[in-house]
């Protein structure tokens, strides 16, 4: 049995799954001040003395990191940045407690200017004297050569509670994002650390002695003990949970669109051949652009409770929400009210809904039914328009090879999955507008918890072999080893796959879930003064995001 729990902003949802069938589901209100209380109450509802020993794994998706960042409940972090030449310090989005340090690594990973140990010790003492307990160390091109970050850590490490190094956050190039990611990792480190301790205490007290996993923004999981070093990986896991839920309950294996229609917003996600797409560089949270691999979603201000009004004689829906629908005592007409007037649903007070729509009908000089129909239609048109723009944007994403320009994959979604409150009511119309077969997945109301329960462990690994310098760098691991001049792409892929395999097993993956794929493999002849001096080989391998074994692509969760 698997217990999947998604602690959301409003509700905490949980499911108990056995042999890929949902045995039980539960929904409670989230106690924001004490998330463990919410965990306790859903767990109680699903697992009792007799079933607790049948549990094989528990997976948790939590808003703790997201909330801490959104509500700015973060610790001070002393940031040591080795920026070298390039952008001026003023163009970096950094706060107080930031020092720009001497040192410079270039794009090939060569050390051009060394660090200044005296300067580093001085900054360490300054941070310490100000009571700062957390430090982030980030160098430009540190993923090409982590040496200066490591040297700086050696100077400061004993004086602080925790230190994060930029190159460990991601193998991607993007110094400003590396700074933001490292900062956030330290800023929420204490809070997350305490949360993990409480969770572990709680599960052990309940007699649960199985692996506990945490969901990441990329829709993959990692073991809770592994998550402690990288709390920033757990931001924005909520939307990822829903998308993974749709994947597991529908067995989607083609290009498809997934919509989560809520009261205030609709979240759009896209599958390419059944695989959810990632943000190209990393997710953004509260204006922090990070390197955290996360599912590519777009949130738009159209939902069931969006305010409907007339603007220059035309109906407009959203983007704001001002309380619930009129049928539930809200101040403005909403798409929900229109659907009530149209008799599509029996919820709420139909008289209040009608009363809210009447002024719009008068202004449009049409019967109330026609006005309600127009609102419903306009809501769907807006959502469909945003979906088309999003797909178009993905299809227009720049590519860097002629092969991809001419033969690259173009998304052509013909399936639409809709979850959320009004999913069933809007799905047929949206399907028609988008020329898609529309589906409302089973257990849509707890899709997030199902997604968490069944997500597999994921990770990626970035490798760079430079046969001129005879080094192989595994960027996010901070590893550099010597290689012979004749090193080949095949060897880089083999080493990458092997290292990735070991890494995810340590993160808690099961051997049967190791679907390793090469997502990038480029090889460049390096020519200097007319002679070939080496090869520059770039490889990225990943565990394909998806569900844990037995539930292969194309299968869906049983009812």
């Amino acid at each position: 049995m698997i217990l999947g729990i998604d602690v959301g902003g409003t509700h905490t949802d949980a499911v108990l799954i056995d042999h890929f069938a949902v045995l039980k589901k539960a929904k409670v209100l989230t106690d924001e001040r004490n998330l463990v209380t919410s965990l306790l109450s859903v767990t109680k509802a699903l697992v009792d003395e007799s079933t607790v020993h049948q549990l094989e794994r528990v997976v948790l998706s939590t808003t703790i990191s997201t909330n801490a960042i959104v509500q700015n409940k973060v610790d001070r972090v002393g940031m040591l940045l080795v920026s070298g030449p390039g952008l001026p310090p003023a163009l970096y989005d950094v706060r107080q407690d930031t020092c720009f340090m001497s040192g410079y690594i270039n794009h090939r990973g060569m050390e051009i200017v060394g660090i200044d140990r005296i300067e580093a010790a001085r900054m360490r003492d300054r941070f310490r004297s100000e009571g700062i307990l957390h430090v982030g160390i980030v160098g430009k091109f540190s993923t090409r050569n982590p040496r200066q970050e490591i040297e700086l850590r050696e100077i400061v490490r004993d004086k602080f509670r925790h230190v994060s190094l930029g190159h460990r956050m991601s193998g991607h190039l993007n110094f400003p994002r590396r700074i933001a990611t490292t900062y956030l990792n330290e800023a929420i480190w204490d809070l997350y650390h305490r949360f993990v301790k409480e969770v572990l205490h709680f599960v052990h007290a309940r007699g649960i002695n199985v692996p506990i996993y945490i969901l990441k923004a990329d829709g993959g999981t990692f073991d809770i003990s592994q998550s402690v070093d990288f709390p920033v990986q757990t931001i924005l896991s909520g939307p990822a949970a829903s998308i993974m839920g749709i994947l597991t309950t529908t067995g989607c294996n083609s290009d498809a669109i997934a919509l989560d229609i809520g009261g205030t917003t609709t979240d759009i996600a896209v599958f390419a051949d059944g695989v959810p797409l990632f943000e190209p560089f990393g997710v953004t949270i509260e204006g922090h652009k990070t390197l955290i691999r996360g599912l590519r979603t777009r949130s738009i201000g159209v939902g069931g409770d969006s305010v409907v009004r007339l603007r220059e004689g035309r109906l407009s829906v959203g983007p704001e929400r001002d309380g619930p629908a009129a049928a539930f005592g809200g101040p403005f007409p909403t798409p929900t009210d229109a659907m009530i007037v149209l008799g599509m649903t029996g919820i709420g007070d139909p008289d209040k809904a009608a009363a809210a729509i009447i002024p719009l009908a008068d202004a449009l000089q049409c019967p109330i039914g026609e006005a309600a129909r127009a609102i419903f239609r306009e809501t769907c048109l807006q959502i469909a328009g945003h979906v088309r723009d999003f797909v178009e944007e993905i299809n227009n994403q720049p590519v860097y090879t002629i092969h991809e320009m001419l033969d690259g994959k173009r998304l052509n979604p013909r399936r639409l999955y809709v979850v959320g409150g009004p999913a069933g009511l809007l799905a047929p119309e949206l399907g028609g507008l988008l020329d898609c077969e529309a589906h409302v997945p089973v257990h849509a109301e707890v899709a997030n918890a199902i997604g968490a329960a069944l997500a597999r462990t994921t990770a990626e690994m970035t490798l760079l072999a430079d046969t001129e310098q005879r080094t192989l760098t595994i960027c996010e691991e901070g590893l550099q080893t010597a290689i012979p001049p004749g090193f080949t792409m095949e060897e880089v892929v083999r080493i990458g796959s092997e290292k990735l395999r070991k890494k995810v097993l340590k993160m808690g993956a099961a051997e049967e879930d190791l679907e390793i794929e090469v997502v990038e493999a480029q090889e460049f002849n390096m020519v200097r003064e007319c002679y070939t001096t080496g090869k520059n080989i770039r490889v990225k391998v990943q565990i394909k995001p998806g569900c844990i074994a037995d539930l292969k692509r194309g299968d869906a969760l049983c009812r």
Binding site: L87, P88, N174, F175, P176, R177, K289, M405, N525
Partner: protein
């Protein structure tokens, strides 16, 4: 540093990581690899005012507005050329629709050595991506006065050739003196065809010219001429091989110099041309240009081994450049009086050219005949023979073509029979008509 007004800058980045002229050629897959690394690592694409766009793909129709390709456009280009020309066109579209304030097509392969008639590849170029873009702009957005400032180290002989007779397209090229570098042309007295004198301006610079020299020419020659020409659009043919580390040239320009030049020139569109110091120059020069175009502070951009004192040009070089600048300006000031002297009573003016296609090893003999005209750029006719065995005749009508040049041109095309020619071409730049017989 005072705050500069930021600009919305479009970036069309197409490194063609799977295309090379040959494995060891300077124009190979690796060329923009380290530029990509630097641009990504600096996080430039995350700036709200810098937007990246996917390039479009140019068509044969786009090429036929700017070139006479022998035997046809499809035979002289590969997909890579269509994408780099398409990238330049995308840059133009984004600027002319107002989506961005300026744009940089950081694309390869380059194009500024490709001339009006194309029998093959020369100087790593098959088709002229700036000219294809310029003719696209005029076709799509109407007649425009356009200035091309070619800052590549090699003379922009292809662009000069295509616009030799066009008074509405100002081609200014600064380059290492042709007596010391490919393609050998680009002396001061190459000054435009009989109806377009002064619309071609060449400023050859001595080897070892540094930032100081380039910026002096910018301030004393280029900017004053642009002020008078009053272009609707300024295009920088942004070669990066004036850099002090470039392996095939001898100049001493720096990333700071390139950034400063682009800030002062303020091009609407920049298009990458040459530049083969792929590791030590391009990453820094490109970051500098992007920041300068976007109105962001580039003062911290510099190469790892940058030493402005060691790179300074000698006093002799400064003097040479100063004299050259003065001579060019004299020529420019006298451009209106030049025609009567040069043309006299002639109704047609001929020029003969021998063109060598170094990349493909083709030789071409060409005779160009221009109708002397005071109302437009003048009808142009070209007789061209290449040692590939191809012999062609082409009639070209300029943009804003006067009725007389038009009727003469139409008549010549009509009257000329295939005879000894493989093909006869008719290119009407005003109406976008392209005919072959």
């Amino acid at each position: 540093m005072p705050l500069k007004p930021q600009k919305r800058t479009g970036l069309i980045f197409f490194p063609a990581f799977d295309w090379a002229i040959s494995p060891n050629h300077p124009e190979r897959e690796e060329r923009l690899l380290y530029t990509q690394d630097q641009v990504f690592e600096e996080g430039l694409l995350d700036f709200d005012n810098i937007r990246e766009y996917k390039p479009g793909i140019a068509t044969a129709e786009d090429i036929n507005r700017a070139h006479i390709c022998v035997p046809d456009a499809g035979s002289v280009v590969t997909e890579s050329h269509l994408i780099s020309a398409g990238g330049a066109i995308t840059a133009a579209d984004k600027v002319l629709t107002g989506e961005v304030d300026n744009a940089f097509a950081l694309v390869r392969p380059p194009g500024h050595h490709a001339m009006l008639v194309v029998h093959g590849a020369r100087g790593f170029c098959n088709v002229n991506i700036e000219a294809i873009m310029i003719e696209y702009i005029r076709h799509r957005y109407g007649p425009k006065r356009i200035a091309v400032v070619d800052t590549d180290c090699h003379h922009g002989d292809g662009t000069q050739d295509i616009y030799w007779n066009d008074p509405d397209t100002l081609c200014i090229s600064i380059h290492q003196d042709g007596r010391t570098l490919y393609p050998g042309t680009g002396s001061r007295d190459e000054f435009g065809g009989p109806n377009a004198l002064g619309a071609t301006v060449n400023i050859p610079l001595p080897p070892q010219t540094s930032d100081e020299g380039f910026l002096m020419v910018l301030d004393r020659v280029i900017l004053p001429i642009l002020d008078e020409f009053k272009p609707d659009l300024i295009i920088n043919s942004a070669g990066q091989d004036n850099h002090y580390t470039d392996p095939i040239t001898n100049m001493r320009f720096s990333a700071q110099g390139y950034a400063l030049l682009n800030e002062r020139l303020a091009p609407d569109i920049a298009v990458l041309e040459g530049g083969y110091s792929i590791e030590k120059a391009l990453p820094y020069v490109n970051v500098g240009i992007i920041l300068a175009m976007a109105g962001l502070d580039y003062s911290h951009v510099r190469e790892p081994d940058y030493d402005p004192v060691a790179l300074r040009q000698s006093a002799d070089i400064s003097r040479t450049i100063e004299e050259e600048a003065a001579k060019v300006m004299n020529l420019w000031k006298g451009r209106h009086e030049m025609k009567a002297k040069l043309v006299g009573a002639a109704r047609y003016v001929k020029r003969k050219k021998c063109i060598y296609y170094d990349t493909d090893g083709i030789s071409e003999q060409q005779e160009e005949t221009v109708r002397v005209c005071d109302d437009c750029g003048g009808l142009v006719m070209i007789e061209s023979v290449a040692d590939t065995g191809n012999r062609i005749f082409a009639v070209i009508l300029p943009g804003r073509c006067c009725p007389e040049c038009r009727s003469h041109g139409e008549m010549f095309y009509e009257k000329t029979n295939r005879g000894k020619h493989n093909r006869i071409y008719f290119q009407d730049r005003e109406r976008g008509v392209f005919l072959v017989k």
